[in-house]
Symmetry: C2
Subunit: 219 residues, 2 copies
């Protein structure tokens, strides 16, 4: 019976995700679901991306947290089109929560929607939200063993972004080991390094983002 | 029906935790459940504690991970009494998993048992394992807003240990803000700062640990 319930939940989520996906396709909005451990820098990454693309790319954000409006307030200082989801304790977003948030977002004219998931390397992995791409943000200060310890998060992603490279000189992070395990788990995943603090790597990231946006518009 | 199932799970876990607790009491073993986000330094914290107490305190470790034996292998280079739990995807330990691991540990003569939970600031919080104390390891590189973002983890702890103070000079971590929110959430929680890299703060931590061990022996 327990297994039945889990299957029903996942099937229902898949159907809701398909509804979201169709809406994103119709509106030609590129949707990126961002996963990471707590404190890897998801919100700062979104803010730094908005700062570099403002006036060129119309961006909206769905902020997922178990409680508080701490992160959405930070983003609202830059853009208006931000909706907070408080999961009330649930450890991940699901497609139904995103569908409800979409009702409050201005979707017309939107190019890009970031969905910042709850900070958790385990539970959000299984939940399709209807997104086009999934980014896994890892950070130098978390250590080079995160792919070994949380493999599913790295397997089920389109792009791994290693943040906080500014801390590389103060840590024993073994980049070749990290890169090797990321590629072993998921040979199709991209891997880039950035620092939200110094801006290192953002030129590469913005180029990737612009290519994905062009691709979405012509689909 | 869903609520019934959750209540049953939690009631069953409580009963199993009580069995563990009785065993720990009979054997006079001090048991500490360590929670943190991925990469906050739980394993290194355990290793640095063992290094400083070896020959004085007999320590065992239960290592909780969703997969891999990466962390338990590191600890096994120092002590023999280590048991790995692989949850197979489950995002937290429960009392029943710990009970099974206890069958494989040498409990006679053991003073201290660390239970390293799965790296996750949300799901492990609700699961009593039968421990005496719960430590929440936070780290400077995760940012000063973790108490605001993950309040339950900070509410349900006995001691907050802020790790990676060696990175304080390279971050914008606001310690007074962190301390204030920790205390607002849980006025009974202790709060100390350490660096597993430089050893800063370990004298205080070992003093606390020795006091808890003395208390346990005389109970």
């Amino acid at each position: 019976m327990k297994i039945d319930i889990i299957e029903n939940v996942m099937q229902y989520n898949k159907e809701e995700a398909d509804v979201n996906r169709k809406l994103f396709k119709d509106k030609k909005i590129l949707v990126i679901n961002i996963l990471s451990a707590p404190g890897a820098g998801k919100t700062t990454f979104i803010i730094e991306t908005i700062k570099r693309t403002m006036g060129k790319i119309s961006t909206g954000v769905i902020e997922g947290d178990i409680s508080s409006t701490h992160d959405s307030e930070k983003i609202k200082s830059l853009i208006e089109n931000v909706v907070q989801i408080n999961t009330g304790g649930t450890c991940h977003l699901n497609a139904s929560m995103v569908a409800k948030a979409l009702e409050k977002l201005k979707l017309d004219g939107l190019d890009l929607l970031f969905i910042e998931n709850v900070g958790n390397l385990i539970c959000p992995v299984g939940f399709d939200l209807g997104e086009d791409y999934r980014i896994l943000l890892s950070s130098v200060s978390e250590g080079d063993d995160k792919p070994v310890k949380y493999p599913k998060a790295f397997i089920k992603t389109d792009l791994v972004i290693l943040n906080k490279t500014d801390l590389m000189d103060y840590s024993d992070f073994n980049y070749p080991f990290f890169e090797k395990t990321v590629k072993e788990l998921n040979k199709n995943s991209g891997l880039i390094s950035i620092s939200c603090k110094t801006g290192q790597g953002f030129d590469s990231w913005i180029s990737i983002l612009e290519a994905l946006l062009r691709e979405k518009k012509t689909k």
